[in-house]
Symmetry: C2
Subunit: 329 residues, 2 copies
């Protein structure tokens, strides 16, 4: 039940797409570097946030699972990673977060204005890279994915401290803001490898379920994680009134809900509220409940995989399911 029991090493799972994944990282930094010198330190700071490269890895794994990887896969993987980086930069403005991957965020270092523009800039670079591809599918999926990410984030913000919020809306929001990008990564990987419609849909569904589970785990880590391991500010959902799955469960418990609403609305910073949550609330049960939700999604993700032919790449995708359940950062 612990969030820290993973025995799956991400590096092993990604070994079979390692050469392409390394190209993504290297070329992305090299290409972003060829810029106005004024923007260089900013772009390098943003690039340093990237971390696990799960999304570009999914492009590559899904591609290999249905066919051969081509040059387009590396490009699509870069685009997906750029889009993710742009959302991270904007997210940190929204959250007022000061820490990301154990480093100062762009807003902590430069104030609010620069990261707003830097996110736009990185997004424009992703779009620019995308329209160079002959096949416009990537551009279309990218545009629609971005729209949904924004829609999900806006909806979430508009309903902070909205204690009428429910699980159905929670899931709708996390699908929009997180899972669509995972789905897009898998869909595009399969599409650019020449997968047929059923394979492309299966890859998309796998990504959607995996991404949904990933966000649930993320929401658990925000309450129950170790800041030194996770590498970003924790407790922000609690303090900012974001009604995540474990919080929704506690809010629905008789004799607990009202107290939790008061804690969330009350004075005190993230750390104080988090301490109080751990001290006086059934956090462990709430996390267990939420992790059950994540597991259900991961079971669906596994089911979707069965529609792809067996292969080491498919095994790698299945390994990611294990990884997501066990991750502690």
């Amino acid at each position: 039940m612990s969030l820290r029991s993973s025995s799956v090493r991400l590096g092993d799972l990604l070994a079979q797409v390692r050469p392409e994944l390394d190209r993504v990282g290297k070329e992305l930094i090299a290409e972003l570097r060829a810029e106005e010198w004024d923007l260089l330190p900013l772009v390098e700071l943003a690039a340093s946030f990237r971390g696990k490269q799960l999304r570009p890895a999914l492009v590559l794994l899904a591609g290999r699972a249905v066919g051969a990887l081509g040059e387009d896969h590396v490009t699509v993987a870069k685009i997906v990673e750029l889009l993710h980086t742009a959302t991270l930069v904007h997210d940190d403005v929204l959250d007022g977060a000061s820490l990301r991957r154990k480093q100062a965020t762009v807003n902590a270092a430069y104030g609010t204005e620069i990261p707003v523009l830097l996110g736009d800039y990185i997004y424009a670079r992703a779009f620019h890279m995308s329209v160079q591809l002959t096949d416009p599918t990537c551009s279309r999926v990218l545009a629609e994915t971005t729209r949904r990410i924004c829609q999900g984030e806006i909806t979430q913000i508009l309903h902070r401290f909205d204690f009428t919020w429910d699980e159905e809306r929670y899931y709708r929001v996390i699908v929009d803001k997180t899972a669509t990008l995972y789905a897009a990564a898998c869909r595009l990987g399969a599409h650019y490898a020449g997968g047929d419609a059923a394979q492309v849909e299966a890859a998309d569904r796998f990504g959607l379920e995996l991404g949904t589970a990933f966000q649930i785990v993320d929401d658990c880590l925000d309450l129950d994680g170790d800041e030194t391991v996770v590498g970003k500010s924790l407790g922000t959902d609690l303090a900012r009134g974001k009604l995540t799955l474990p919080l929704l469960w506690m809010l629905a418990q008789r004799g607990v809900g009202d107290h939790l609403a008061n804690l969330m609305r009350g004075n005190g910073d993230e750390r104080q509220k988090l301490r109080e949550l751990k001290r006086a609330f059934p956090l462990e049960q709430a996390i267990a409940y939420a992790m059950e939700g994540a597991r259900a999604r991961l079971a669906s993700a596994r089911a979707a995989l069965l529609e792809l032919p067996p292969s080491p790449a498919r095994d790698g995708m299945e390994g990611l399911v294990e990884y997501v359940i066990g991750r502690s950062s």
Copy 2:
């Protein structure tokens, strides 16, 4: 020399593309309306900022000046207007502006987070519309234009209160942040009407010069305009250390420059600083100097027009040159 002497009516200039321009406005609002209901009031608020529709009008005029208008022109005009709207929404966050077109800005009404995401959302819609076009030129130009807008804005912010700033860098920034979108509008209008390379380049150059002049006039209005006419918060450049052309001229004047730097860096809000600027500085001369710069750009814009065949649409574009010089809002 006054900024308020225009006898050119914008409505007359745009009369010949009025039906298409009206379609742009109506369809844009209708299409943005077909959304998550949560986002509706936000999208409507953003749409209400649009105002003069100069950029979509340029798409249509440039198209008609070199050929016939088609369905693509209306789409491109909408895309250009959406991109402009997205930048307005983000600009208001950056400026901390409270007033836009005599209305509360999105950030004044909703705080910082929503407009960051709303700008992204609108931009994604523009991108989405663009990738539906068969000819990918619009998407390519749009991506590059967005990159340059962000680059210009970031550079400007990084050099606020940088009193080593000079005219050459001022011009480079305003070309990036403002004029490239005018250039893109004209270029795409000519391109989608089947214009030849020389015509497309001439249209681009016209837009670039017109847009540069437009920004210079904007920078003058920020210091010398009438807030009730301009309809947005004035004096922000002064208070935020943006070194615009009239300010650069004053900073270079012996016995004036140091005082101005002190005023800019000192305490006091926008209104107080603006009042002091009008009372104790050679503002009228500075504005006259900057307007000369604008006129030089407009002369180049006129010269570029001569490479297009004579037509009522070309006359309309020429009329915009007069309009920009004379505008007071």
